[in-house]
């Protein structure tokens, strides 16, 4: 039996790496991948709780998170294609239309 706290620790570390990537990286697609990593870290926490509490609710939520992640990836990548057409770049530093 794997202790639940260790699974949650893994989830926390993965989530923090995702947050770090969103903060540090400048390529929009890599930032997007880090968002996927954060969603996956949440999945690990859900499955860890389902495992520790002998419940199936966490597993159902993993399924729903997965569908949301897929929908988000599709729409986000379409937005990136549209941005790339007009700006010829995916560097976040150059997206300044909505900046003060």
């Amino acid at each position: 039996m794997i202790p639940v706290s260790h699974i949650l620790g893994l989830s926390a570390i993965l989530f923090a790496i995702g947050v770090g990537g969103v903060m540090i990286r400048r390529n929009a697609i890599v930032v997007f991948m880090c968002v996927e990593l954060m969603l996956n870290a949440v999945n690990v926490a859900f499955v860890g709780f389902a495992y520790g509490m002998q419940s199936m609710v966490g597993v159902m939520f993993v399924f729903f998170v997965l569908v949301v992640a897929a929908a988000e990836a599709v729409v986000g990548l379409a937005i990136m294609l549209a941005i790339f057409r007009s700006r010829e770049s995916l560097d976040l530093e150059e997206f300044n239309l909505l900046r003060w």
Binding site: L14, V47, M53, M56, V62
Partner: protein, 179 residues
């Protein structure tokens, strides 16, 4: 089993950390695919084959392939700016916030894992006997049938949104010439 968990978890964290370091988006994507595979192994260790298979099929198989398609379609070159040791204020703030969130998460998880609620009815033995896929399928079509229908609508809306967003717009004079 505990040792296997630690080894796979360490590998998963290492390959996730690669995303922060590697410069080429393609390498980042491949490293993330590796991370997703390793998390699939962790889900198997956690006695849940359904999530493991879905993880590999949808995350590693579908979503990351979409990412790779877009990276190669846009022909992105790796970050060519010189790697600077100089930390800007944004980078310091980002790293500080990351460490803060990590500390907060570990604190909350450490205190909450000690007091888990009452045990559910799906013991590891029952899940192994009935199979996690059967249990998930039954729950999905009985207790969770409404969210299941709602996410199917969400998926369809996102498909249409992606088509509308990514479609090339015709130049304006063509639009005007049409009655």
């Amino acid at each position: 089993m505990l040792i296997a968990f630690y080894i796979v978890a360490a590998l998963a964290v290492a390959s996730a950390f690669n995303i922060l370091i590697l410069r080429s988006p393609v390498y980042c994507a491949l490293s993330l695919v590796g991370c997703f595979f390793l998390l699939g192994i962790i889900f198997i260790l956690l006695n849940n084959e359904f999530v493991a298979v879905v993880q590999v099929l949808i995350y590693a198989g579908a979503i990351m392939v979409l990412f790779l398609f877009v990276i190669m379609l846009l022909n992105l070159r790796p970050d060519s700016s010189p790697r600077s040791l100089k930390f800007g204020i944004a980078k310091i703030l980002g790293i500080g916030l990351t460490v803060g969130i990590l500390a907060q998460l570990i604190g909350v998880f450490g205190s909450s894992a000690a007091k888990l609620g009452p045990m559910g009815e799906y013991s590891a033995q029952r899940v192994t006997e009935e199979g996690s896929l059967e249990i998930v399928a039954e729950l999905m079509l009985t207790e969770y049938v409404l969210p299941f229908e709602i996410i199917s609508i969400l998926l369809m809306v996102s498909i249409m949104g992606a088509v509308v967003l990514a479609k090339k717009r015709p130049p304006p004079e063509e639009e005007e010439s049409q009655p």
